[in-house]
């Protein structure tokens, strides 16, 4: 059975309050409503566990209109199985874990039958939020089909890695092993590995971080509009802007690193380690510099994930650099103007 991915959700409103929120309405990044109610405090190892269930709008409406009780809503299979999250870790968003990853039998924590919305202590505000933002890049000059494809491919790769690393930052223990095993699966011999790696990272986070092209206007000037999570899109924009000021240094370090890999025979091979410690140290130092200079990545997390694989770590740094450089070129050539600010959908 496919392992369900985690998801993130934002707080919409409290529905039942008694000394603390007992039932709340959340919304995930795709806009799906989620009902979350307080579980027994000792039900899991989490400090303040809540059972969260995605619900369709018609089901939510039925519950609000007292045509169904909370127990029925939680057991409804049509919108998927429930999640569990720790309210004590609620930041801007809550990180929701598939319930089966937290406890063996979550069904024992379903609410008692007969809890209807008449017990809501707060009015239902019928509010929703927009987690995904539209991000429009204004384009100018001449664009071929290949240019469009290349721009979007690099954007999607960086978006995937930023999103994935954002999750790593928040949840080191659980996800870092995932990145490590993803890195291990590829031989890192050539383009296919890099493509596969970024695709896999994107697939891992697809449920939560969909990047969609919402509009392409081919005219000159025109625009390419994508829809995604604001944080990741902003980080890419910052990287593109920042790239210009460090381009020369980065380019120099990149060439050095590439040369080290080439001389050690690691460039086209599936080697995980260098031939000796001195070369390892030189390569790691340059890979660190590349990632640090781009000021966009948590170098430690990537390095931890690749701790015993210095060659893939170096190749990953180079791959990220190349994608940043490609996007920066579009910007430096005057063919892409960065958005001034995101707009919600």
């Amino acid at each position: 059975m496919r392992k369900r991915p985690k998801m993130r959700a934002s707080f919409i409103q409290t529905l039942v309050y008694y000394d603390e929120p007992l039932l709340a309405l959340l919304q995930n990044r795709k806009g799906t409503y989620i009902l979350a109610y307080a579980m027994d405090e000792n039900a899991t190892d989490l400090k303040d566990p809540y059972l969260a269930k995605p619900v369709s709008k018609p089901l939510l409406d039925a519950y609000i209109q007292q045509k169904a009780d909370l127990n029925f809503v939680m057991r409804d299979k049509r919108t998927g199985e429930p999640y569990i999250f720790d309210w004590a870790e609620f930041d801007n968003e809550a990180l929701l874990y598939p319930a089966e990853q937290i406890t063996d039998d979550y069904t024992q924590f379903y609410p008692e039958p007969g809890f209807f919305s008449r017990n809501h202590t707060e009015p239902f505000l019928n509010r929703s939020i927009a987690s995904l933002v539209k991000h429009a890049y204004r384009i100018d000059g001449r664009w071929s089909a290949a240019d469009f494809s290349r721009f979007y491919a690099k954007l999607a790769d960086l978006y995937a890695i930023f999103s994935y690393l954002g999750e790593l930052r928040r949840d080191k223990s659980i996800v870092s092993n995932g990145l490590s095993s993803t890195v291990s699966r590829y031989p890192w011999q050539g383009g296919g590995s890099y493509l596969g790696f970024f695709r896999e990272v994107a697939a891992e986070s697809r449920e939560d971080y969909p990047l969609q092209v919402s509009r392409i206007q081919y005219a000159s000037p025109g625009q390419i509009e994508v829809k995604g999570v604001q944080d990741s899109l902003t980080q890419i924009d910052n990287l593109i802007t920042h790239f210009g000021s460090v381009k020369a240094d980065l380019s120099h370090t990149y060439r050095e690193l590439r040369s080290i890999l080439e001389r050690d025979g690691a460039l086209g091979s599936d080697a995980l380690t260098f031939s000796n410690g001195a070369i390892t140290a030189m390569a790691l130092s340059r890979a660190d510099t590349i990632l640090e200079e781009m000021r966009a990545f948590d170098v430690e997390i990537i390095r931890d994930a690749c701790s015993d694989k210095p060659v893939p770590y170096a190749k990953l740094a180079m791959a990220i650099y190349r994608r940043g450089l490609d996007l920066h070129r579009f910007h430096a050539e005057g063919r892409v103007q960065l958005p001034e600010g995101p707009s919600t959908h």
Partner: protein, 191 residues
């Protein structure tokens, strides 16, 4: 910590006793309060009106600034506080804030510093305790709060807000000097 026992009160299982002589007046008061406080939801607008009644209010607990909100008004009549057992001590109305718990994310600190009370609704089919039992079905509540302490509030006891006219819940900020244990009328089992 002083412990107040109420051995003279019978522990009632799903009590339907109507204390009409007491609560008709109190329900009227609550109804008026409810209408007045209709817009007093938890996410209140702190700047929408002058701080009338609450200006002279001396709170029992340390409260955040501009707390209680402008729309809070003195509460009077019967209310129910969910409690763990048939015996309560002097702190049974303490807010989570007074207990030293850090306010949860997405909760107004002022509301966090309030004591939650349930409406004593005599018009509810089955009586006021049936109303409380219906509310207390929530899992985390029923795990710990198996009893309801019926308390009688006078306007000097403190100020509160009902989220909506139909909400079973009041946020209540106790006044300095109010001893909630002395306000207990009865403690009933909710099981």
């Amino acid at each position: 910590m002083s412990v107040v026992d109420f051995p003279q009160h019978r522990i009632v299982r799903r009590s339907r006793r109507a204390k009409r002589d007491i609560s008709i007046t109190s329900l009227e008061n609550q109804h008026v309060a409810g209408r007045r406080l209709l817009r007093g939801a938890l996410n209140f607008d702190r700047h929408s009106s002058k701080r009338g009644d609450v200006l002279n209010f001396a709170p029992k607990e340390a409260l955040p600034t501009e707390c209680p909100p402008d729309k809070a008004a003195p509460l009077s009549g019967l209310f129910v506080r969910l409690v763990e057992g048939p015996i309560v001590d002097a702190t049974f109305c303490d807010s989570f804030s007074a207990m030293g718990k850090v306010a949860k994310a997405n909760v107004d600190p002022c509301v966090w510093a309030a004591c939650s009370l349930i409406v004593y609704d005599e018009e509810w089919p089955g009586g006021p305790i049936a109303r409380v039992v219906d509310f207390a079905k929530q899992r985390r509540l029923i795990q710990y709060k198996k009893f309801g302490a019926i308390i009688r509030l006078s306007p000097e006891a403190g100020v509160g807000i009902r989220s909506t006219e139909d909400s079973p819940h009041y946020s209540f900020w106790m006044a300095y000097g109010f001893q909630p244990a002395t306000a207990v009328q009865d403690i009933v089992s909710l099981l």
